[in-house]
Amino acid sequence: MAAAGSTSRDGGSAVAELRGWDAFLHLARELRLARLARFAAPYWQRALLSVVAMVVVVLSGLAVPYLLKIAIDEGIQAGDLHTLDLVVIGFVVVAALNLGASYVQTYLTSWVGEHVVLDLRRALFAHIQKLSMDFFSRQKTGWIVSRLTNDIDALSELVTEGVTSLVTNGLTLAGAIVFLFVLDWRLALATLSIMPVVVAATLVFRARSARAYALVRDRLAAVSAHLQESISGVRVLKAFRREAADRAAFARVNAEYRDVNMRTVVQSGVYFPFVEFMSAVGTVIVLWYGGSLVSGGQLRIGVLVAFIAYLSSFFDPLQQLSQLYNTFQASMAAVQKIFTVLDTEPDMLDAPDAVPLPPVAGDLELRHVTFGYSEDEPVLRDVSFAVPAGRTIALVGATGAGKSTLVKLLARFYDPEEGAVLIDGHDLRTVTGRSLRKQLAVVPQEPFLFSGSLLDNIRFARPSARRDEVERVARVVGAHEFISALPDGYDTEVQEGGGGLSTGQRQLVSFARALLADPKVLILDEATSSVDAESERHIEAAMEALFRDRTAVIVAHRLSTVRHADEILVVDAGRIVERGSHDELLAHGGRYAELYREWQATGRTL
């Protein structure tokens, strides 16, 4: 009987990669598989039903040669048409059972498998949301996205078709052996005599091809990476006349891929025909030995025919199981990476007894804060300062002095090693992150816009905001003019990353977004990339509007910004060395005053 879902004997790498995977032995060793199985646990009823269906499929498939034997021996050879008819009816019934069970099995296995994939994807995503900013800085974003996409996809094959193939092929193989022994144990032994050879060949092939396929994947990735990089940098390639060199380098990478791929062709090119040959040898053994038994009257011919029919139930599953070891390897590698991410501890969790932050006025305080990105290099040392609500504070200092770090602590992207950060007297660590974010907004240096309309981007701060509210904030920051000038206005679609708008425009949108959030505290890391003078003017005006009516802490790079601040904090080597208003600091005659004089001198030369 043609088993549902049978595949090529001759498929080469094309069809081969699509199904199941290997021996049960490895299963046990793979603890990850147990974890994976736990994801399937909620669907155990469907899974169980599916397995039952699989058993029915296998049994009905294996029944065919047996029925054939009965038809031949009891029916045809005996001249008993009645029995023949019964067998034929039985045959149709078994075929129908196979049909029904196959349907159930295919559907349910896919359902469970795809649901496991869905759950895993969701779990991974949810976990990534919880991970600290630190995680994102350590890993490249591409790596993270790959886990969520490529790896989950690799898994999908495994948990749907892989499971099916393993169980059905495994059962078929085992079942066929059982049936052979039931039919005639002597002939069974004789037939199985070739098994050691076949199994040995299969093991050798499997090991070799696993290595070769891993190499092929690797080289293909190298080809892809070369092209990706060269396309990204094609302008540099052309500007520096590297076309010929690149062509030659690519030829090498291309050839390497072709050559390792050829190796897999050779390996499967020998293995599969060999197994076919062994199948022929098996048939001959059955004919010779079985034949002699039949001639001696010790065996009925129907058994012989059944044996020959069973041989294919042997070799097909064996080949399929060996082909798919590679898919298994690839999938398990993916699973490993996924679980690595899931096992990463989020370290910016809310404390178990965290309470929501009540509405605050906006008094900020840093109390004896010490912090460093790595253990032994503190960036901030024993920093203390308080900012009354409603004031605008500018942080100035050389690159590396610690301004950006201060701001990150205020925004609770990191927790201090020593000391505390407080808002209205509440230690940031005692309140829930979510409630804090609702009252404290951060505008980072590089404005990031999501794909979607400008309206949606600004509304990201408060999705329930009405259109007129959005326009109002846009007007306040000075973005309304340029947005209205666009063909689709607020509905203009922004490309990922904000392409299509100039840097200055993106900045203004970013400000509008922050304003819509209407936070009591605003933290702004001033952008350093230069924009044309007109945009600069807009941005300055926008900042003034932004800082009204709330506490604002700014990492300043422009003297104009600093001069407008209520108070200036001069940061140097992780400490605050001076503070006061512009005039006070000038009068004080310290660091700031010196800088101001420097500026005056520099300003002249510009």
């Binding site: 045959f91 293909l220 396309i231």
Partner: protein, 610 residues
């Protein structure tokens, strides 16, 4: 259809292998068809006929056939495999070489992802079809016909009746693939949506957190993932219906065979051996019938991919070097724009621009975003061709010169420079691979890069780029300057070369640039007055035309456009970091330990299948 023939003709380069492959495949098929026949004879003559000593011969015959089939099978796989891998190699090489010859404008139009998918998965689809699809298709079609003939010869009534399932099988297979294809496309699309959502969320994670939108993001992602699930289950449902059905039909045929054929054996009009042969041949039909559906799918995918590949291969090279292009061994570096106009699609970027720049002069190009300053600079190395007018270098129209020669004399530094995954030294040497280590260091020193490079653990051997160390914007900029310098070019183009750099670094680079522009014709496109002040002359552009020229002071005094842009800028412009930088001189250490950031707009992770 035309694509089909074009793809098929690719086999022509491997004629001998292909012909051998086909021949061996047919031989293999023929040998496989022998087996049931021999088995039938063995059963009828030797076992039932009492001629049992013949059994040995039949057995040996089968082994012989098996052995030959083994050899033929190996040969077939090796020949078709080699041919198809060769075709894949050739096609990829050809396509990439062709693309490399295209100019900037071409790459402006084509997104990286589109090019990558054609270079990777589309070519693989064509290979699969040529390597396996065609041979299988031909062999299986012939096999079906041959078996039909054999069966008809054995017993035509039985044959007709048992072969009746074939058309039904083919029909079902065809309907299956038609039903499944749109569903699979749907699955692919939804997976793409999930990928896009994942990417955006990760790249914009900071913003998500800042506005406490994690829940919404989770909901959005969950929703898209569920859609993938739903589509996958729909596909599974379709498979669950059709695949068992495709297996059931042959079983029905076998049942019929047993019923009718069995009676015939009892009546004596058919031997048992013949019945067994019938059964075996019928079983041999199942696989080809099933696979034809898969093969047509393969063929269709190959056609679609082929079209996409030829779309690129057929595209003419948009900027050719003329066959009689003149060499330019030396250049003084005088550049002239003679009534230059340039349009990008329908957008007019430059209008009637005339400018003469004597050798060694440093010119700053300024103006609002989109005024055409970068475009103007890009015309000199012929990254783009003018729509009207001419660009002259040392009096020669750049279109009359050999491209390689022209570009050897022009060093370009852009905003956000691209570095290859190679060592720093190799990156710097890009323009002149024969540069010595000393020359590389010298260039790096002038570019103010030597210090930080030497501080790295592997120094100049440090691998940078996508797959290497991530350098800060300022560091990359300085490397790019060194890269341009090592060529010792007569013309230098600094396009917004300091704008994405913080001002402290910029003041350092500025010091370097002052040295570098000495004696070279330099075009500086910049916003910052500090950079602009390096120039001998400032050219102000507005909407593609030159509106003012002069020195910085002259223009300020003139009170026009320029003064408007930069006049009151001093207070705004004075960046504190520059002040700090000057104050602390070279002593300012490394930059603040900040997490490595990807500049916005970088291409996503590699698009091809890994």
């Amino acid at each position: 259809m035309r694509t089909f023939w074009r793809i098929t003709k690719l086999l022509g380069d491997y004629k001998r292998l292909t012909v051998a492959g086909f021949a061996l495949a047919f031989a293999q098929m023929g040998l496989s068809l022998l087996v049931p026949r021999v088995t039938q004879l063995a059963i009828d003559r030797a076992l039932l006929g009492g001629d049992s000593h013949m059994l040995v011969w039949y057995g040996l015959g089968l082994i012989g056939v098996g052995a030959v089939r083994f050899a033929v099978g190996v040969g077939r796989r090796l020949t078709t495999g080699k041919a198809s891998l060769g075709i894949e190699y050739d096609l990829r090489q050809r396509l990439w070489s062709h693309l490399l010859r295209q100019p900037f404008a071409y790459f402006d139009r084509w997104p990286t992802g589109q090019l990558m998918s054609r270079l990777m998965s589309d070519i693989t689809n064509v290979r699969m079809f040529l390597g396996y699809g065609m041979v299988f298709f031909a062999v299986n079609v012939v096999m079906i016909l041959a078996i039909a003939v054999i069966l008809l010869a054995l017993d035509w009534r039985l044959a007709l009746l048992s072969l009746a399932f074939l058309p039904a099988l083919l029909l079902v297979t065809w309907r299956f693939s038609r039903r499944l294809r749109p569903i699979l496309r749907d699955v692919q699309q939804r997976i793409a949506d999930v990928t896009a959502a994942a990417e955006e969320n990760v790249v914009g994670s900071r913003i998500v957190r800042i506005f406490a939108r994690e829940d919404d993001e989770m909901a959005k992602f969950s929703d898209r993932s569920t859609r993938v699930f739903e589509a996958s289950v729909a596909a599974a449902r379709t498979r669950a219906v059709y695949v068992p059905l495709i297996a059931f039909l042959p079983n029905l045929a076998v049942a019929f065979l047993l019923w009718y054929g069995g009676r015939q054996v009892v009546q004596g009009s058919l031997t048992l051996g013949e019945l067994v042969a019938f059964y075996t041949y019928l079983m041999m039909l199942v696989y080809p019938a099933q696979v034809i559906g898969w093969l047509t799918g393969l063929a269709q995918r190959a056609m679609a991919s082929g079209e996409r590949i030829y779309e690129l291969l057929d595209a003419p090279i948009e900027m050719e070097e003329r066959p009689d292009a003149a060499p330019l061994p030396q250049a003084a570096g005088a550049v002239t724009f003679d009534r230059v106009s340039f349009a990008y699609g329908d957008r007019r970027v430059l209008e009637d621009v005339s400018l003469e720049v004597p050798a060694g002069r440093t010119v700053a190009l300024v103006g609002h975003t989109g005024c055409g300053k970068t475009t103007l600079a890009n015309l000199v190395p012929r990254f783009y061709d003018v729509s009207g007018g001419r660009v002259l270098v040392d009096g020669h129209d750049v279109r009359d010169l050999k491209l390689a020669d022209l570009r050897r004399h022009i060093g370009v530094v852009t905003q956000d420079p691209f570095l290859f995954s190679a060592s720093i030294a190799e990156n710097i040497r890009a323009g002149r691979p024969e540069a010595s280590a000393g020359e590389v260091r010298a260039a790096a020193r002038i570019a103010q890069a030597d210090e930080f490079i030497a501080a790295l653990p592997d120094g100049y051997d440090t691998v940078v780029g996508e797959r290497g160390l991530t350098l800060s914007g300022g560091q990359r900029q300085r490397l790019a300057i060194a890269r341009a310098l090592v060529m010792d070019p007569r013309i230098l183009i600094l396009d917004d070369a300091t704008s994405s750099v913080d001002v402290e670094t910029e003041s350092r680079i500025r010091a370097a640039l002052a040295d570098v522009t000495e004696g070279r014709t330099t075009f500086i496109v910049a916003h910052r007055p500090s950079t602009i002040s390096l120039a001998d002359e400032v050219v102000v552009l507005d909407h593609g035309r030159i509106v003012a020229r002069g020195t910085h002071d002259e223009l300020l005094a003139a009170g026009g456009h320029y003064a408007h842009m930069f006049g009151d800028a001093e207070a705004r412009r004075c960046d504190l970091d520059a002040v700090f930088a000057q104050e602390s001189g070279a002593a300012a250490g490394g930059e603040e330990p900040a997490p490595a950031r990807r500049p916005a707009g970088r291409p996503a992770a590699a698009g091809g299948p890994a």
